[in-house]
Symmetry: C3
Subunit: 302 residues, 3 copies
Amino acid sequence: MALAAALRVPARILLGAGARLPGAALGLTKRAAGGGDGARRFGSQRVLVEPDAGAGVAVMRLNNPPVNTLSLEFLTELVISLEKLENDKSFRGVILTSDRPGVFSSGLDLTEMCGRSPAHYAEYWKAVQELWLRFYQCSLVLVAAINGACPAGGCLMALTSDHRVLADNPKYSIGLNETLLGIVAPFWFKDTLVNTIGHRAAERALQLGLLFPPAQALQVGIVDQVVPEEQVQSVALSAIAQWMAIPDHARQLTKAMMRKATASRLITHREDDVQNFVSFISRDSIQKSLQLYLERLKQKKG
Amino acid sequence: MALAAALRVPARILLGAGARLPGAALGLTKRAAGGGDGARRFGSQRVLVEPDAGAGVAVMRLNNPPVNTLSLEFLTELVISLEKLENDKSFRGVILTSDRPGVFSSGLDLTEMCGRSPAHYAEYWKAVQELWLRFYQCSLVLVAAINGACPAGGCLMALTSDHRVLADNPKYSIGLNETLLGIVAPFWFKDTLVNTIGHRAAERALQLGLLFPPAQALQVGIVDQVVPEEQVQSVALSAIAQWMAIPDHARQLTKAMMRKATASRLITHREDDVQNFVSFISRDSIQKSLQLYLERLKQKKG
Amino acid sequence: MALAAALRVPARILLGAGARLPGAALGLTKRAAGGGDGARRFGSQRVLVEPDAGAGVAVMRLNNPPVNTLSLEFLTELVISLEKLENDKSFRGVILTSDRPGVFSSGLDLTEMCGRSPAHYAEYWKAVQELWLRFYQCSLVLVAAINGACPAGGCLMALTSDHRVLADNPKYSIGLNETLLGIVAPFWFKDTLVNTIGHRAAERALQLGLLFPPAQALQVGIVDQVVPEEQVQSVALSAIAQWMAIPDHARQLTKAMMRKATASRLITHREDDVQNFVSFISRDSIQKSLQLYLERLKQKKG
């Protein structure tokens, strides 16, 4: 199987094996430090949370250098941070954005899927499922302020939100491009995309591994707004205000009604889905492809 | 729960508790009286039917002053009028329109949901279900000539038709805005909307309680045509002629095939849906909110 | 039942009973003969296959004069030709196009449905099902280069492909227009259309029997591209190259995931669907209509 046959965004961003590469040391940014106690209470080193309890909104900044790859630890911290906010009655909305320049999230972490044990693969996949289930069914209003490239698992995370604002930068494309790497999005990625852009557009986008640049992303409906890069945060704040004007209880029940069938489908088949992933990723051919790809990636950076 | 947090159309129209308020005396209009025996045979005081058996079309004019609120009696008369037309072989199509200025229908009747017995709530909800089941599965061609505001239950009724023509007046918006009042559209309202505008647009519209003004309504697909106000009836007649050019039997079987799964879902869960409604509406918090709202409405009019 | 009440394309093309009428003698065209041994190996007299094993693409030209009506024999040859290509590892993509001027395919063959035995109706319907099942679930990339009118069963065949390019000629309309003839598209025609253009557009198109001219076809999404007539083949080749840039295995698994539920629905109800068709088509009223229609068609040509 040919991996990365026709990548259209830099491989570093597309595959994001970066979290374990040199130069990926963690560090709070100045802005994050400004979040003070709140940031520590709700977030982590990789998930910077800036609470604004007055407005009832928290900004959750993804900060897993270099490219917000969804490692096992990062997935876990994301879920915990969101749960903390859900359990704190002073918050009604969350803005999800990146603290890393140029990338929202590079998606799943290939180093978690390569050269590990079946038990590790299973643990990792359960964490991916958990992220989706928690974010897709989140009782808070969730707005994605997409300020960077948003492929694969990054796109999945964005698709769980209630409203998506994308910065108008031709480098920031969004989509489920798994087939470009010779892998296949699972059925619940597919269901989420179908719910968002419809069956035919999803059929085409998933098979071709399309990454939509801003104008196309807006047209196909994978994002709701495209705005100048410097306005992404302010527009996201305006959008969340519109959603928060609705009585919570009615909005939450309506959201649950819209999304329950899709979430239930994974919940029902969760264990099968883990087994499918483990047996697929454990294949010799897939492992060889991933190893080759990761080695090439290291050489480029070396 | 905050009721009517952000109403964008006059409350009188939005909630339409008017049928029992002063000034709501019934009376046939001149035009309706012109329908003669036919109007009496197929319609009622609140549902004026102008049969044109030559063309095979009947115009059904909603006339429940002041704002065509869907009271229990009005719902029942609507269903009976439609049934009479369905059982008369001289009719193949119905145009549904309003005889009340400025409003198509204000939707469900809050006075039927407030300060009554659980048995009354159950009876009322069954009548709402019955309206939807009969209209959504109507064997006749059903065209809505929407000549006024069309929120909530009014929108549901319009969504049951085969073709929707909306008058181009910025005051005439259409949508399922239940969340604005702190209440939740049931799953079959949601299913009808998803069938019409797709999953993502419905998710957004239902949660935000969006009322679409004409241009937006056309763009999102909740109506099929927007035309100058004085042309609504003539355009509706042209549209129904196009639908009636199709052999009835083939069109009816095709319509049933498209709508059966959605209708069956309510039929299967009908009793549960009644129980859900009764227990939700009977809550103290909901009853208090409705009472407050209705009192404020009376004061405004006093 | 009134047949052909409002036909908008020439009846010869719409109903295509032509395969058994005078002038329908078979013959390989020059171009097809140019396919040489390959054409004979993969195709038949009615299905001309031009293999280009170098590029991994085969062009399958429909050649059942006069109007590519889907007779029992033609259906069988189409399925066999596609199977041969699927089983030959040198092919990864197929372009489906017409060798008959002005028509892609006129659809199902009414002479197979009229004046025959119930056993024949059943055999014919199974062949129609088989065509759809094989083409809709084809592991190869399938691109339709629609170079002529594409009603009813012709449209169904086009809808099974991964990408549709339509020649920009106002005579070349596409749609499932069964209701115009007083007949009803079965549920799996409907499912395929809903998957392609969504529920509401399908509800309208199926009931009205709409045949979309090029610009409308593109707008509603029943085709993906509309191009000048002389460019249909070259654009189809460009499109198939884009699809073939994706690793086969990932693309095939993704395609199967998108289409499995729809295909399974017919597989599960296949026998019922045959019985439904046989009992519907055997009705006296339907047989009389079909006979009248076919006689009128013969007189026109006589």
